[in-house]
């Protein structure tokens, strides 16, 4: 059920990116899709009653460097978190690129409306 709500958020972003005519609204739709994908990946690795995958003094057996069985049985998955960490910073870089294209287009044509930007001269 939470997976379906996350997919609904993705579909709302897809509707905004496809139907709207304002260029900044299209960029907002793409960002909503990126948030939905990151949320879905982290929800895949969750364990009910789990703890964060960070080792501290309480997770080691006293005196040695071995992990207790309690930590091994209740930690959440660290692999989706590693993938999402880079994805969030990449989304900021691509947002900067999209907004710079929008600002340049506004300077050239005077409007944000995509149905009026038709002339393909250089």
């Amino acid at each position: 059920m939470p997976y379906a709500l996350c997919f609904l958020l993705f579909v709302i972003g897809l509707y905004c990116a496809v139907v709207k005519k304002n260029m900044v609204k299209i960029v907002i739709g793409i960002m909503i899709m990126e948030y939905a994908v990151n949320l879905f990946l982290i929800m895949l690795g969750y364990r009910i009653g789990g703890i964060a995958p960070i080792i501290d003094k309480g997770a080691l057996k006293p005196g040695t460097e071995q992990l207790t069985a309690a930590f091994l049985n209740t930690s959440v998955d660290p692999l989706p978190q590693a993938l999402v960490l880079t994805a969030i910073v990449i989304s900021l870089g691509s947002l900067a690129l999209m907004i710079s294209i929008c600002i340049r287009t506004y300077e050239r044509y005077g409007t944000f409306d995509i149905t009026k930007i038709r002339r393909l001269r250089g």
């Binding site: 579909v11 972003g13 905004c16 895949l44 959440v76 660290p78 870089g93 409306d113």
Partner: protein, 183 residues
């Protein structure tokens, strides 16, 4: 579990407002609300690294978006709406949503990660042998910087290229370049 549903409902309402409002500044503020709700959700899903990164990236993203919307004469988008195109798009997107919900039922239920069902998954090795093979206490840092360092190299390259692209697009052409004679 009730916390997840409340936060997801908050995020969905903010997304619907961001899509439908005509005021661009209001839509940008709703994006800020979505990012804040997502960061809280990451905290309850036991991912503290991601929560810190999400909230600071959210703040910088808001500054970049507001720079594009403010102090421009916002021309009102007028003209006849294409009714046929909008109806066809909505029907196709609804069909995609129904098909996706059917696919999502084949995943394991919410709350059991994949490596609890398949004991040979890669995450089991990362958790058990992460400390003795890399020496880092933060398992996520040991995954992105030792076990899977190629992905981090690719990410640094993508960030570098997109920033170079954004800097080149916003360069001002001086008039002298346009008037050079062809030799």
């Amino acid at each position: 579990m009730a916390v997840f549903y409340i936060l997801l409902l908050f995020i969905l309402i903010a997304a619907i407002i961001a899509v439908e409002t005509e005021n661009l500044l209001g839509a940008v503020i709703c994006i800020g609300a979505i990012g804040f709700g997502a960061s809280l959700m990451f905290l309850f899903l036991r991912a503290p690294d991601i929560a810190i990164t999400q909230i600071v990236v959210e703040v910088l993203g808001l500054i970049i978006l507001i720079r594009a919307c403010i102090s421009r004469e916002l021309t009102f988008i007028s003209g006849p709406r294409e009714f046929f195109g909008v109806v066809v798009s909505v029907v196709i997107i609804f069909a995609i949503f129904l098909a996706g919900v059917k696919v999502l039922e084949t995943l394991p239920a919410f709350g059991t990660p994949i490596f609890a069902e398949a004991p040979e998954a890669a995450s089991q090795t990362y958790i058990e042998e992460g400390l003795e093979k890399t020496g880092a206490a933060n398992l996520v840092a040991s995954v992105i910087l030792d076990f899977r360092a190629y992905d981090t190299l690719g990410e640094v390259t993508v960030l570098f290229t997109s920033i170079i692209g954004a800097t080149v697009i916003l360069r001002k052409k001086t008039k002298k370049l346009l008037e050079e004679p062809d030799i």
